[in-house]
């Protein structure tokens, strides 16, 4: 017998049984104002939330060498081309991508292969901007998973803030291995 059959056999014989059914639940969301809840959550996770005009002003004041925008809602004329190999993004300063929806209870934004193009993109970039519609917000993770129940992207990600660590004496440091900042920008639709 191979290891697979041996393990399955062990799991099927001689076990005590708790005989508990798989629970169904109806956990009602408590969030009322989704926009302000989401903003508060992102800020607690050390990200920032901008209106579109604020973001445009901020962007003008910056001097990034490499910017990659694949947003359908925000046009950045000097975007570099998407490479075929993510290693070529090692020097990327700013990525601008679209988020599908946000979760008010914790700031988690769902992104999948069609938003990312290259899975490494939101991690390898130095700074990250996610364009999101205020209408695309859900209250809790229950609503979030309901929404993606039928999506079958090869990769999906709840992203809730910039890369962070507190491994040195529990002092919070933003910018461990991934993006050093997260800006969420509201778009119209």
């Amino acid at each position: 017998m191979n290891s697979r059959s041996i393990i399955l056999e062990k799991l099927r014989t001689g076990n005590p049984v708790a005989d508990k059914p798989l629970p169904e639940w109806n956990l009602i969301s408590s969030a009322k104002n989704l926009v302000s809840g989401f903003k508060k959550a992102i800020e607690a996770n050390k990200g920032e939330v901008f209106e579109l005009s604020e973001f445009e002003n901020w962007l003008k004041s910056q001097e990034f060498e490499q910017v990659l925008s694949i947003s359908k809602h925000f046009n950045y004329p000097n975007s570099i081309q998407i490479p075929t190999d993510a290693h070529e993004l090692a020097e990327l300063n700013l990525a601008i991508i679209d988020g599908q929806f946000g979760t008010a209870e914790n700031g988690a934004i769902w992104l999948d292969d069609k938003n990312l193009n290259l899975r490494a993109l939101p991690f390898i970039t130095e700074h990250l901007v996610i364009i999101l519609s205020k209408k695309q917000l859900v209250a809790t993770m229950h609503d979030a998973y309901k929404r993606i129940q039928d999506s079958n992207s090869g990769f999906g990600l709840f992203l809730a803030g910039p890369s962070k660590t507190a491994d040195i004496e529990q002092s919070l440091v933003i910018g461990a291995h991934g993006a050093k900042s997260l800006r969420v920008v509201w778009c119209e639709d």
Partner: protein
């Protein structure tokens, strides 16, 4: 060495012990604060607990369902009965890619299997990429906490270490500066690794996907830049449906560090084009634990570490005092199942106060299982040093006459004996404890003189 012997090494540095205690208590308080913002928190815990109970009854069925769906998605699923088989599988994949250096993100399971020394012995360089894990790897130490691997170290020590290993400025202890040095050092490793290893937080039978949670983004930096992703998971990490993730994702980070979610929660369903995902399902004693009726639900654990942060013993004795891959209260009920002799003192490293069970997000009755293990261990080793005194005490308490005589005797003797005898090392109850003042008379005598 026993837990208490190892703990006595840790507490030699009183200042650090106090810092460790207070810091973990602070994390526990953060957990309390955030759970109070969720009115349905207790309902969530109960639901999570019921899902896990159900899974343990049907583990084989869910594993087969998961395997079927994962295969359909293009994930290659492997099975390992024990650590050796697991490590061999990992090495075979690495060697088939002619790869000499790999990056690894936090995985308690690969610690359990001692994967790093095995790969290094076979000529593969292993780079742990979680900052805390990289720090302890530089020191040739295991993590001392499952969520906060370097919580036993102060920034002064990390600064000295990074000065030696990463050529940072001598004496610069700024956590931001040190973290940036690690970022630059590890970026180069990420960009050059062909194979990346991660653990698994949850695997979903219904979809054949698995979820990996980090705050640093190190797991994703590794796997998306590598050609091959090897994910290693214990067979108990399976959950039935995608919607069940909604329950577990709400309780995991809140219980672990008091944050509402980790900043990155990645769902892997199929490899990117031209790449490979391998997933190893490991038993390594889990099927045996499942057969122990009193201890089986220790397998519900989702590795949040809340029981460690709250435990008065863990906070004051440090992770290394447990000498076990998973330390703290949950480790003390998991480890005796794998090696009863080695871990026989762990279930006694508890006050049985029950705080661990109170904070456990999947409602494992940890303190009751600690008590149960004590019964098993005492049955298996009847010659523990306290047994003689326990038998003696039992004889005295059974007979009123013997109780009266020994009471009178002790009231006189304890006053007369010098401290060198009273606090002799053989009296383990006298360690760090003072005997109370001896009363002049027994309650019985007092009652006779004053009330009758």
């Amino acid at each position: 060495m026993s837990h208490s012997e190892k703990a006595s090494l840790f507490i030699q540095d009183a200042e650090k012990t106090q810092w460790h205690d207070e810091t973990l208590w602070f994390v526990r308080k953060k957990r309390d604060l955030i759970t109070k913002t969720i009115p349905e928190w207790e309902e969530l815990r109960e639901t999570a607990s019921q899902i896990k109970d159900h899974v343990l009854d049907h583990l084989a069925d869910y594993l087969e369902e998961f395997e079927r769906n994962a295969n359909k998605n293009g994930i290659q699923v492997h099975w390992a009965q024990n650590a050796e088989e697991h490590n061999r599988l990992v090495l075979d994949i690495i060697q088939s890619k002619q790869c000499q250096s790999i990056v690894k993100s936090k995985s308690i399971l690969t610690e359990e299997c001692h994967l790093n020394p095995f790969l290094e012995k076979n000529g593969v360089e292993v780079v742990d990429t979680d900052l805390g894990e990289r720090i302890v790897q530089f020191l040739n130490q295991p993590p001392s906490h499952i969520v906060l691997p370097a919580i036993h170290l102060k920034k002064r020590e990390i600064s000295e270490l990074f000065h030696e290993k990463l050529q940072t400025e001598k004496g610069n202890e700024d956590p931001y500066y040190l973290t940036q040095a690690a970022r630059i050092h590890l970026r180069e490793k990420f960009l050059n690794a062909k194979v990346a290893i991660t653990g698994v937080n949850f695997a979903v039978a219904e979809t054949g996907e698995f979820v990996v949670c980090t705050n640093e983004g190190n797991a994703d930096m590794g796997v998306h830049l590598a050609d091959v992703h090897i994910a290693c998971m214990g067979i108990e990490k399976i959950i039935p449906r995608r919607k069940d993730l909604g329950v577990f994702m709400r309780i995991l980070a809140r219980s672990a560090t008091g944050q509402p979610i980790t900043n990155y929660s990645s769902h892997f369903r199929s490899p990117a084009s031209g790449k490979e995902i391998h997933l190893i399902l490991l038993d390594n004693g889990r099927s045996a634990q499942l057969k122990r009726e009193k201890f089986r639900n220790s397998l519900k654990c989702i590795r949040c570490g809340a029981c460690m942060n709250t435990c008065p013993i863990y906070r004051k004795s440090g992770g290394y005092s447990y000498d076990s891959t998973v330390p703290g209260p949950i480790g003390s009920i998991l480890s005796p199942g794998t090696d009863l002799k080695k871990h026989s003192t762990l279930p006694f490293a508890s006050t049985l106060c029950g705080s661990c069970s109170d904070v456990c997000p999947v409602k494992i009755n940890i303190h009751e299982q600690l008590y149960e293990w004590r019964q098993e261990i005492t049955k298996a080793n009847p010659d523990r040093p306290k047994n003689l005194s326990m038998k003696l005490a039992s004889g005295i308490f059974k007979s009123p006459l013997a109780y009266r005589i020994s009471g009178t005797l002790m009231r006189k003797v304890i006053q007369a004996l010098p401290n060198s005898i009273l606090y002799h090392p053989l009296n383990s109850w006298g360690k760090q404890r003072d005997l109370p003042q001896v009363p002049k008379e027994s309650f019985r005598d007092w009652y006779k003189n004053n009330r009758l």
